[in-house]
């Protein structure tokens, strides 16, 4: 009986946002692959958690690395959710979302920014990404930059393959990478690499 009403908490969050106290807004959303975590700062989308990743761990990480002012605020992520839904429905080939890159730095961030420019339905190799980031020989580092991508799906690390066409790795699991590439028409369904 002493539970705060949903309205009171809703209003509290709206006031927090107006006062600039909502440093990290997050929401979860359903996708064909399972539940995604979406987190956003005032700069833009900062984190996308894939279904196989632990939400509590991701939120604790955001609290430690961005700001502990982390609040669930689904309305703040409406646009992100809308674009992702369209993408999964095959109706959107380019996200138009501000991104917050602060969870990556240096070479890794350069790799991720290069990945961000790979067009829908195309693929590149880890070697090409290493070259674009300024060090062609750092292929393994480019691979691990992909693996640590804080904003998967929107920054399309699933479009990076091994030289020769093997899938390589994916934080959300290889079946998900395979499905995303099928969705984008890069791979035929059930083709395996």
């Amino acid at each position: 009986m002493s539970t705060a009403t949903a309205d009171t908490i809703e209003e509290l969050k709206a006031r927090a946002a107006r006062e600039g106290l909502l440093d990290v807004a997050y929401a979860t959303t359903d996708s064909p692959f399972g539940r995604l975590l979406l987190a956003q700062t005032k700069r833009g989308l900062v984190r996308v958690g894939l279904p196989n990743q632990d939400t509590d761990l991701l939120l604790a990480d955001l609290s430690a690395r961005v700001s502990p002012r982390v609040l669930e605020a689904p309305a703040a992520l409406d646009e992100v959710r809308r674009e992702l839904d369209l993408y999964f429905a095959g109706k959107l080939d380019s996200f138009d979302l501000p991104l917050d890159w602060r969870l990556s730095s240096g070479f890794r961030q350069r790799v991720l920014r290069a990945i961000d420019r790979i067009p829908y339905g195309q693929t590149r190799t880890y070697t090409e990404m290493a070259r674009k980031a300024g060090n062609e020989r750092a292929v393994r580092a480019a691979g691990s930059a992909c693996g640590s991508n804080p904003i998967p799906l929107v920054v399309p690390c699933h479009r990076v393959l091994r030289t020769g066409g093997a899938l390589g790795g994916y934080g959300g699991g290889l079946p998900m990478k395979q499905s995303l590439l099928e969705l984008e028409g890069v791979l035929d369904e059930k083709s395996s690499s």
């Binding site: 009986m1 002493s2 006062e19 939120l59 502990p68 002012r69 609040l71």
Partner: protein, 154 residues
């Protein structure tokens, strides 16, 4: 240093307790506003918090301060005559909740006196100042409130 949990966790874990205590301290209606003030103040200060081990105590301290602010702001105005008590006061599983529910059902002046004395640990003189009455009147309200609580919870 214990890392600070995401603020959402703090809200989830302590919202009910804070609301319960505020309802006891300032009444059901004002509690909504004091609740928001409490968590906004907490959110403002949160990144600078040194110790995450006693978040409950930290929040309750802020809540009590907000309750006192509320009473001070109302101190000059006459307090409303007894509010209509809840038809049924459901007793929660925790003794704390049951107690604060009973406090919440007291007439406003007794409720304020009891919660300021035992919730915020204020001396009689400060309770009197917060309520805008004489220390003697504060003492009387406190006495009456406690008598009623004892009967209620017996």
């Amino acid at each position: 240093m214990t890392p600070l949990p995401p603020f959402q966790t703090v809200l989830d874990e302590h919202a009910a307790t804070v609301m319960g205590i505020l309802r006891g301290a300032v009444g059901r209606e004002a509690a909504e506003d004091c609740f928001q003030e409490t968590f906004l103040a907490a959110l403002r200060a949160y990144p600078r918090l040194q110790d995450a081990r006693n978040l409950r105590g930290w929040l309750l301290t802020i809540a009590h301060r907000k309750a006192i602010d509320h009473h001070r702001a109302n101190g000059r105005r006459p307090l409303p005559v007894a509010e209509v008590p809840e038809a049924a006061v459901e007793t929660g599983p925790e003794a704390d909740e049951r107690l604060w529910a009973a406090v919440g059902a007291l007439p406003p002046k007794q409720r304020a006196a009891v919660s300021l004395r035992y919730g915020s640990d204020l001396p009689h003189a400060e309770i009197a100042a917060a309520l805008g009455c004489s220390p003697e009147a504060a003492r009387r309200s406190l006495h009456e409130g406690l008598k009623r609580l004892r009967k209620e919870l017996a």
